[in-house]
Symmetry: C2
Subunit: 343 residues, 2 copies
């Protein structure tokens, strides 16, 4: 029987599953970030090979060309990346075809067997796509932390940091975020001043510039935490409302009438850490904004793109993925994930 | 007669003047950035020594301890910087005392002989100070490009870039800025699409990420240029209005009542490239916002902090700088600057 390996290569973590043509899943493997743009070609190939090895359960069968590997990946896969990856996979007995698919398509297919609709990811970045006939038709957003990606984890984390700096400097209102960020960075409030400034402000600014800019994403959870502590905190609420609106705007742009898309076909599949947290912890803010953006379309949140990578693999083999097979793949992969002890 | 050398050490350019105790200025020198935080200790010392050498007019007199060098500088001067700088100045015959003063004080004293008031700089960053009894009393803003500095050159340039990226992506309104930024980056509009995106958007994003983030400041002038081309352009107008408001907010924060400052003593001296451009090219936006912030106080724009560095040098010698001497220093330095052929 043909070996099918599906991989979801993320910026900070990657997943792989081993499947047969019936949809049975016999292995789940997890590893660190496998996106070559985020971690470099060598690091990405190492991570993806490790996830694959773990999904294979330690077996290294004799090389066979009767295998298919489908990898859902953001951005561009360069020839050096593909060459190195194929050589490593061949060493694991997967010498057959390797196909790279957009992560947006992996996310979409994780949530639905349909071939029409939208995928929105808000995690490291904010990006949305119109899916038509099972392919990416239009992509919106995804311009990165410096030029776009409003509503992403970086963006929320930066807004949190800027709001606290402004508040400590008397340029912005008081907010629960201040205490949370000072705790997260291990800075005590002393009230002391030097050179005309508060000492905790100077220390906070120093600590935050010691990070790489994108690492500000680690403070995004503080916005949700602030609302748990003080549901009325206007600063945290404004940041999350602006994030939800920005994500909804990217989704709306994917259905601009210029693309002949005045109705709303299919479902809207939602992925990424910000949308997961937003729907679970601030549903009044996030669900409303997204419902407004698509006029009541069905919203389907997904954990990641691994089921979608499996769906795409089946389609590459010419097999139809009907709702029953989609449910089976989802249940099989969830079961393997649970057995692998990986949340 | 005692040699007085005053230096204004900026992030991108530095100025030095040679004075005697009567206020006569016999030399003006200019060099590149002399701020050790911005360009490193060695580069900053090289630039300041070169500016000093040019102000000395090529003379290298025998070392004398009867000299005073006053340097107006943003941020902290570390001991290695001061040691290296003093050794280089001694080599130029300036073996006497070297004093570092805050650039905010240099800016303030460039505009007024008074010892009470405010200084606001909006250039590389956005920062304001309350000056009391001739000293910095309170500093607001200046938290840098990632955490603060709304209204700075970086901030305006980033807003320009983000607005154009959003517009090309269908996430924001059309704006004159698009044509200006595409011209500035040498990108032609083709209307072609690949991978679900417009090609000029992909190329622009690629070009802009090839810069260091802070280099986005070079696009700040496009906001003013857009208003020249299309005075009603709402995107450029909103960016400049938000910049002026942010600068005014930093100024307002410097007079918070918690510092016992409910009235508005003295003048408000304005420095930095954004304020210079704002007052000259969009006065309706900038003057109004700043007047509102200080209830009609007198606004004094200055070109840089070199006159202020000279004023501070005179004060360090125990000499009073009255309005007549302030006018004389300003006129002498302007004359030397013109003779040196440096705008």
């Amino acid at each position: 029987m043909r070996k099918i390996l599906a991989i979801d290569a993320g910026g900070t973590s990657s997943r792989a599953v081993l499947l047969d043509e019936s949809g049975a899943c016999s292995g789940f493997g997890r590893a660190s970030g496998g996106n070559p743009t985020a971690v470099g070609v060598a690091g990405a190939v190492d991570a993806l090979a490790l996830a694959a090895e773990r999904a294979l359960g330690g077996q290294t069968p004799s090389p066979t060309s009767d295998s298919l590997v489908v990898i859902a990946l953001a951005g561009t896969a360069t020839p050096p990346f593909i060459t190195l990856l194929e050589s490593r996979l061949a060493g694991l007995g997967l010498a057959g075809r390797t196909v790279i698919e957009p992560d947006l398509l992996g996310t979409f297919c994780s949530g639905t067997p349909l071939v029409e609709g939208y995928a929105v990811i808000a995690g490291t970045g904010t990006i949305a796509a119109r899916i038509s006939d099972g392919q990416i038709h239009t992509v919106k957003g995804g311009s990165g932390w410096l030029l776009g990606d409003a509503g992403s984890g970086f963006w929320i984390g930066q807004q949190v940091a800027r709001a606290v700096v402004a508040s400590l400097d008397g340029l912005g209102p008081a907010t629960t975020l201040t205490q949370l960020l000072l705790e997260a960075t291990g800075i005590e409030r002393t009230g002391a001043r030097s050179r005309g400034r508060s000492e905790e402000l100077s220390r906070l600014v120093h600590e935050l510039y010691a990070l790489r800019p994108v690492e500000l994403a680690r403070f995004a959870p503080l916005a949700f935490q602030a609302l748990d502590v003080s549901p009325a905190d206007p600063v945290a609420r404004e940041i999350l409302e602006a994030a939800a609106e920005a994500i909804a705007r990217v989704l709306s742009a994917a259905r601009e009438p210029e693309f002949g898309d005045t109705s709303v076909p299919g479902v809207v599949v939602l992925g990424g850490s910000v949308l997961a947290a937003g729907l679970a912890r601030a549903p009044a803010i996030f669900t409303d904004a997204l419902q407004d953006a698509l006029g009541g379309a069905e919203l389907v949140p997904v954990e990641d793109g691994i089921v979608g990578a499996a769906v795409l693999a089946f389609r590459h083999l010419g097999l139809e993925v009907d709702p029953a097979l989609h449910r089976r793949l989802t249940a099989e992969i969830d079961g393997a994930r649970a057995r692998a002890g990986v949340a």
